[in-house]
Subunit: 353 residues, 2 copies
């Protein structure tokens, strides 16, 4: 029996609605497998937790989480309760850093029955590999002078190790896909970090002579996501560029509500973390209409991670059979509730057994 | 007689094809006006110039340019000849900095007859005000350590003056438009500069109580450009965020070949610079199929800048009458050449007189 112990952090807002839904789906998947089970342990870390305890996660929180096989995260942040940089650096970014989840991967492709926002989506199917631990997301910097002379300095810090690691991950992934890696750069405008990024990319690409490697400036690349997303297979990007590209990726898929993500710890020391891309969506909390597919597709990425790729593929197929029949939440133009979409996925999963 | 002396820098690649085309159009516009004339002086600064002279612009180049009423620029950069960071920092970024062109403005809207890449473009009409002098485009930083321990540090530097100036420009512009300003931020991920940016935005917005002001993180904002661009009126963004957003703006308009830009010197000390957004497009050089509309729309922005808004509006109307009749270059799905599109615009301008 393969028993997976998962730390579940629904977080804020609709995270609390979609995480339980995806957990139900995972239990069903485990039943189909027969020799697999999921044990979820719930952790309340969130903005509400912060209001009560003055911190997003207790002092021993990392200690409590570190021995789980994975973390399953909903959404963090609710600007009405806690400023974003406090909630995010206090929980999401903290977990990514402390647990050395140095790679973030996010696919973008059109699901059956889901209307892309593009006129000609041309069957794109791409994967963004985002450096997830350094770069533009750095707390090195500060402010100087007062009043009208004030300046803020923000350091971006790129290490060869971190940069190379993300790039190698991208090339390895491309080996299993369409054998094409595009590097997101901006070496024409950003003076030190991006020429460095380009250098490392050139070096690393030499080790993968059978992979087609090219570079695009982030501005042009973002535009290509809108004009010709089918150009791409794997894209490797810095922390910030990956952040922007993956939201555009969600946009062209049709809704941020369906986009999944995985934060991967590559050295096996700490748990990896699986989180849907959408936020806590304060405007629809409690309405029962949050789209569960982002979290369920995230569950599929977790299955893949645990070498259950067959089940992962089955799950995504079932999701597409449901979306294909236009059983959709309102963000995708449908009328179904979170529960209805989830139950339909579960009942079709069961019929497949 | 209003005689405008314009320094013309066609630059690289198709810049040399579209700048003369737009100049012909401007001469025609001047004839219609009667009391207006343009005198263009050509400067060869470009990558080819660099190969010959070892610099993108001669030592006294700025001196030669500084007394013109404006600079009309095509495209800079050709990676086959000169690395981008050398050509761009040597010319484009240098001119923006030395001539204190601290604001970059770029509109995005759908032109008649031009197919947006979006399924539902819903008549968006937005303007990005980009801080054009500082922020992420800084040459402060460097590298440290060797081999696998190497790091690159890149400073972003935000001044209160520069930040506030861009924001005030955006609010003033919104006064003349739909009275809505959106600030592009990323204060949930970028630790020092973006919370500072937010603070300044909050303060400045208090001086414009009749303008609707809101903030969006750059990732969500980029996605909204693809899902609901009609949400926006004026967007104020840092140098990098503005760069990315305006290329997405060009993408949703249908082609980067039609997007215009203005680099504005706001203190009147130096010339402003008008440049189309597209690059030098090495793949189509000499084929006679470069889209002249980006440069011609840029000419319209120059007319507006010289308080000839009526002529500016006329010019864009004529451009739209031509695109509306589907007289288009290949990038827009048409079969017309640069010359054919340009001549059609000129002949329709003449008929209007
Ligand atoms: C060529 C490059 C340096 C430039 C920029 O990033 O500013 C361009 O992309 C632009 O937007 O004008
Ligand atoms: C919430 C925010 C800090 C986060 C990020 O920028 O990494 C989010 O946008 C994401 O992409 O996971």
């Amino acid at each position: 029996m393969k028993k997976l112990k998962i730390a579940s952090i629904p977080g804020d807002g609709i995270g609390r609605e979609v995480v339980p839904a995806a957990e139900d789906v995972l239990h069903t998947v485990a039943e189909i497998h027969g020799g697999l089970s999921f044990e979820f342990t719930n952790f309340p870390y969130s903005c509400e937790y912060y209001l009560e305890h003055g911190e997003m996660i207790p002092e021993d929180g990392l200690e409590r989480l570190k021995d789980f096989h994975a973390i399953f995260l909903g959404a963090v942040g609710n600007i009405k309760l806690v400023p974003d940089h406090i909630s995010l650096w206090g929980l999401l970014i903290k977990l990514r850093r402390e647990f050395e989840q140095v790679i973030n991967i996010r696919p973008a492709k059109v699901l059956k029955g889901v209307q892309s926002t593009l006129l000609n989506p041309n069957d794109f199917d791409l994967m963004v590999v985002r450096e997830n631990s350094e770069g533009e997301y750095s707390s090195v910097g500060g402010r100087m002078f007062k009043g009208e002379d004030e300046i803020a300095i923000q350091n971006s810090i790129f290490s060869r190790k971190g940069t190379e690691r993300a790039m190698r991950y991208a090339f390895e992934l491309a080996e299993k896909r369409k054998k094409h890696v595009t590097s997101a750069t901006k070496s024409n405008g950003i003076y030190y970090s991006m020429p460095f990024w380009d250098e490392v990319f050139k070096e690393v690409s030499k080790d993968y002579p059978n992979i087609d490697a090219d570079s695009q400036h982030i501005d042009a690349l973002a535009a290509f996501f809108v004009t010709q997303p089918e150009r791409f297979d794997v894209i490797v990007a810095s922390n910030l560029f990956g952040d922007v590209l993956t939201d555009i990726g969600a946009g062209i898929m049709g809704s941020v509500g369906i986009a999944p993500a995985a934060n991967i710890n590559v050295n096996g020391k700490y748990p990896s973390m699986f989180e849907s891309v959408h936020g806590s969506a304060p405007d629809i909390i409690g309405k029962g209409i949050a789209n569960p597919i982002g979290q369920i597709w995230t569950a599929k990425m977790m299955l893949d991670y645990f070498d259950e790729e067959e089940l992962g593929t089955l799950l995504l197929d079932i999701v597409e059979s449901v979306t294909g029949d236009r059983i959709l939440t309102p963000d995708l133009g449908g009328k179904s509730s979170t529960k209805e979409v989830t139950n339909e996925i579960i009942s079709r999963l069961k019929k497949r057994t």
